[in-house]
C-alpha cells in the first residue's frame, strides 16, 4: 500500500506519514491560513498528483501558489467554482475546469471524474511506470463555502461518495472547514467522514496546530508560520 508523507518534517517525524485512503479535516478559525495549510498538505510529492476543488480562491491564484512551491504543472488539477460567475467565457482545459457555482454538484462530480480519469489515463501511457493507480491528494477549499450553498445532508452524501472513491483508489483527501461559522452538529456530522483532524487555534505568539486521530496518536500543539512563498513551517 502506498504511503503518503505530510511533507512537513515536524509532522512526519511524529506521525510517520499518512495512510492511503485517509480523509483529513482541517478545522480552523478565520485568518489562521487554513487554506494554506490544506494546500501545503496537498502539495504532490514526486510521482503524485493533486486535485483541488476550490470554491474560495481562483484557479489561477491557486496554481500560482503551487508553482511557487515547486509543483509541476502536470501534477496539479483544479476544479474552480468561482471564476466562472464573473468570467462566464473562461474555457476548460485538461487540468483546469470551471463550474458555474458551488451549487452545481452535478457539474463538479462530472468534471472531477474527468480530471481523475485523465490523470489515470496519462499514468497508463507513461513510459516509466510508477504506482498504479497514481497517488492523488484531493483537497476541498472549503467545505465552509459549500455548506453555505447546499444542505448539510447533501454535502454529507457528496463527501461520502468522494471518500469511497478515494479509499478505493488509495488516494487521500483534505477538507477545510471554518470552526466558527457552524454549529456543533454540522461539525460532528462532517467529522464522521474523517479519519483525522488538523485542529488550529490561536496560540500566545502565533497560530498553532495539532493532528488528531491519524495513526491513533495526537501531536502536541505546534506553533506554525509561513515562509515568503507560503510554505508551511511547523515548529517542533
Amino acid at each position: 500500500m502506498y504511503s503518503y508523507q505530510f511533507g512537513i518534517p515536524a509532522l512526519d517525524e511524529q506521525l510517520g506519514g499518512l495512510v492511503s485512503g485517509a480523509n483529513v479535516l482541517i478545522l480552523a478559525p478565520p485568518l489562521s491560513g487554513a487554506e494554506r495549510i490544506a494546500y501545503n498538505l496537498s502539495f504532490p510529492a514526486k510521482g503524485e498528483y493533486c486535485v483541488l476543488l476550490s470554491a474560495d480562491e481562483r484557479a489561477a491564484e491557486v496554481a500560482n501558489y503551487f508553482k511557487l512551491n515547486g509543483t509541476e504543472r502536470r501534477s496539479l488539477a483544479i476544479i474552480d467554482a468561482i471564476t466562472k460567475s464573473d468570467a462566464p467565457n473562461v474555457p476548460d482545459t485538461e487540468r483546469m475546469k470551471f463550474i458555474a457555482s458551488p451549487v452545481d454538484l452535478t457539474g463538479i462530480s462530472i468534471k472531477m471524474s474527468k480530471v481523475f480519469s485523465g490523470i489515470v489515463d496519462e499514468s497508463l501511457k507513461n513510459p516509466t511506470p510508477g504506482v498504479f493507480p497514481p497517488p492523488i491528494r484531493f483537497c476541498i477549499n472549503s467545505l465552509s463555502t459549500f455548506l453555505m450553498y447546499r444542505k448539510l445532508e447533501v454535502m454529507y452524501q457528496f463527501l461520502h461518495v468522494i471518500s469511497a472513491k478515494l479509499k478505493k483508489n488509495e488516494w487521500i483527501g483534505f477538507y477545510v472547514l471554518n470552526n466558527e461559522s457552524f454549529d456543533a452538529r454540522t461539525i460532528s456530522v462532517i467529522k464522521q467522514l474523517m479519519n483525522g483532524v488538523v485542529e488550529v487555534r490561536e496560540g500566545e505568539k502565533s497560530f498553532e496546530l495539532r493532528v488528531i486521530g491519524l495513526g491513533g496518536r495526537m501531536t502536541p500543539w505546534l506553533p506554525y508560520t509561513f515562509d515568503p512563498n507560503g510554505k508551511l513551517v511547523v515548529e517542533g
Partner: protein, 388 residues
C-alpha cells in the same frame, strides 16, 4: 410529442414523450448525464417549442457558454423561444422570502404566471437547489402541470447522491411519466456510462442498463459487443462483413497468445440509434478455450448454423454452451445459406440446439446485406426491449 433527441431513446419510447408528461433524468455520481437534458432542450427549441429553463446553479450567460462548450449547441440563437430563471432571480427570491412556505408560494405563482402568460410548452428544471429548499417532492410540486391552462411538459434533472433505493422511494411518492437514470461505469477509468429507463408510464419496457458514450456533448448509445458464433464455414465472416457499414472497417484482428494466431472478424454498424460492434468468433474446436474470453460482456449472441449441414448441429449446440457460459444473454439463431436447397426445419433446429421457445430463428442468406441487417435490428430489440 416531444423528442428526447437521442434516437435510440426515442426509439425505445416509441416516438418520444407525450405532451404534458413529467420526466425525470436522475444522474448518479460521476455519470456524464447532463447532455440528456441539454439534448432534449435543444431538440425542443429546434422544433419551435416555447421553453423555460430553471437553472438555480448558474447565471444565464455562464449557462449558455457551458452548453455551447460541452454540447456545441448555441442556444443563444433561440432567444425568442427560451425564458430563463437563473441564479440571480433565485437569489432574489430566496433573500426576499426567508420563510420557506411563503417562498414556495412565490415560486408557484411565478412559474404559473410566466408559463400561462408566455404560453410556455416545455419547462426544464435543475432540481438541485430547489430540492434542498423544499424537499424533492416540494420542488417537483412547484411545476405541477394542473396549475397551467394548457398542456406543459416538465423535464427535471436531479443529481442523485442517495442511491437507487432512495430514488425508488422518491419516485413512489412523486410519480413521473418517465424516469431515466444515468450511471457511470465502475472501473477507475470508466469509458462507458449507462442509461436505463427506470419507469415509463405508457409502455411496458424492462429496465435495462444500456451503455453510451458522451463525445463532443453528444450521446451515442453503444452496444459494445454482439458475438457471432457457429461451426466453421457457416458464413460468419460473410455475415460480419455484410452487416458492417460501408466506410466502416471490418478488422481482422490477430489474437496472439493462442496456439495458432486466430483471425477475428470485427464489424461496426449502427442500428436503431445504437453504435454496435460485432465480433465473429472462430468455429474450430481448437479455439474453444479462448471463446469464453471473446464472449465476455457480450450483450447478445448470434448462433449461426448452415442449413445444408444438419450434421454440424451438435457442434453448434456445443458452441452455444461455451459462449453462454453461465450468463444469460439474448440469443438469435441464424439458419444461413437459405438460398441453397435444404431440408432442415425450424423445429429440427430448435430441438437440436435446445433453445428457448422465445428465441427467434431466422432463415437467411448472409450474402444478402439486408437480411443480415434485419437480424441485427432484431438483436437490438432483444437486447433493449425483451425480457430474457
Amino acid at each position: 410529442m416531444i423528442y428526447t433527441g437521442i434516437d435510440a431513446l426515442d426509439g425505445l419510447l416509441e416516438g418520444g414523450v407525450q405532451d404534458g408528461s413529467q420526466v425525470l433524468f436522475a444522474i448518479e455520481p460521476e455519470a456524464d448525464g447532463q447532455h440528456f437534458m441539454i439534448t432534449m432542450l435543444h431538440t425542443a427549441v429546434v422544433a419551435g417549442k416555447k421553453t423555460l429553463v430553471v437553472a438555480p446553479f448558474t447565471r444565464k450567460d455562464a449557462y449558455l457558454v457551458e452548453v455551447a462548450a460541452q454540447s456545441r449547441y448555441h442556444l443563444d440563437c433561440y432567444k425568442d423561444l427560451i425564458w430563463y430563471i437563473d441564479m440571480t432571480e433565485v437569489e432574489t427570491i430566496t433573500e426576499s422570502h426567508p420563510d420557506p412556505e411563503g417562498r414556495k408560494q412565490v415560486w408557484i405563482d411565478r412559474i404559473q404566471n410566466l408559463v400561462n402568460q408566455e404560453k410556455i410548452e416545455v419547462i426544464f428544471v435543475y432540481l438541485d437547489l430547489l430540492s434542498d429548499q423544499f424537499g424533492f417532492d416540494g420542488a417537483v410540486s412547484i411545476f405541477q402541470t394542473k396549475q397551467f391552462d394548457h398542456p406543459v411538459t416538465v423535464i427535471f434533472e436531479y443529481f442523485n447522491l442517495f442511491g437507487t433505493e432512495m430514488l425508488d422511494t422518491l419516485i413512489d411518492e412523486t410519480p413521473f411519466n418517465l424516469v431515466v437514470t444515468l450511471h457511470a461505469g465502475s472501473g477507475i477509468v470508466s469509458f462507458f456510462n449507462f442509461f436505463s429507463i427506470h419507469t415509463v408510464s405508457w409502455l411496458s419496457l424492462p429496465s435495462r442498463s444500456l451503455p453510451y458514450v458522451a463525445t463532443e456533448g453528444h450521446i451515442i448509445p453503444y452496444i459494445p459487443k454482439i458475438v457471432v458464433t457457429g461451426p466453421p464455414d457457416t458464413g460468419k465472416s460473410t455475415f460480419v462483413r455484410n452487416v458492417s457499414e460501408a466506410g466502416m472497417s471490418v478488422d481482422r484482428l490477430g489474437l496472439l497468445g493462442t496456439p495458432t494466431t486466430v483471425a477475428l472478424d470485427i464489424g461496426h454498424m449502427a442500428s436503431k440509434g445504437f453504435d454496435i460492434n460485432i465480433y465473429g468468433t472462430p468455429g474450430q474446436e481448437r479455439f474453444d478455450p479462448i471463446i469464453p474470453q471473446l464472449a465476455r460482456n457480450a450483450m447478445g449472441v448470434i448462433l449461426m448454423v448452415d442449413v445444408t449441414r444438419p450434421d454440424l448441429m451438435p457442434r453448434a449446440r456445443e458452441l452455444k454452451g461455451i459462449v453462454e457460459g453461465n450468463t444469460v444473454v439474448p440469443i438469435i439463431v441464424v439458419a444461413n445459406k437459405a438460398d441453397l436447397t435444404y431440408s432442415v426445419t425450424e423445429e429440427m433446429i430448435r430441438s437440436e440446439l435446445q433453445i428457448r421457445d422465445d428465441t427467434p430463428v431466422f432463415f437467411i442468406s448472409a450474402i444478402e446485406r439486408k437480411q443480415c441487417r434485419d437480424v441485427i435490428n432484431s438483436m437490438v430489440d432483444q437486447i433493449t426491449k425483451f425480457s430474457f
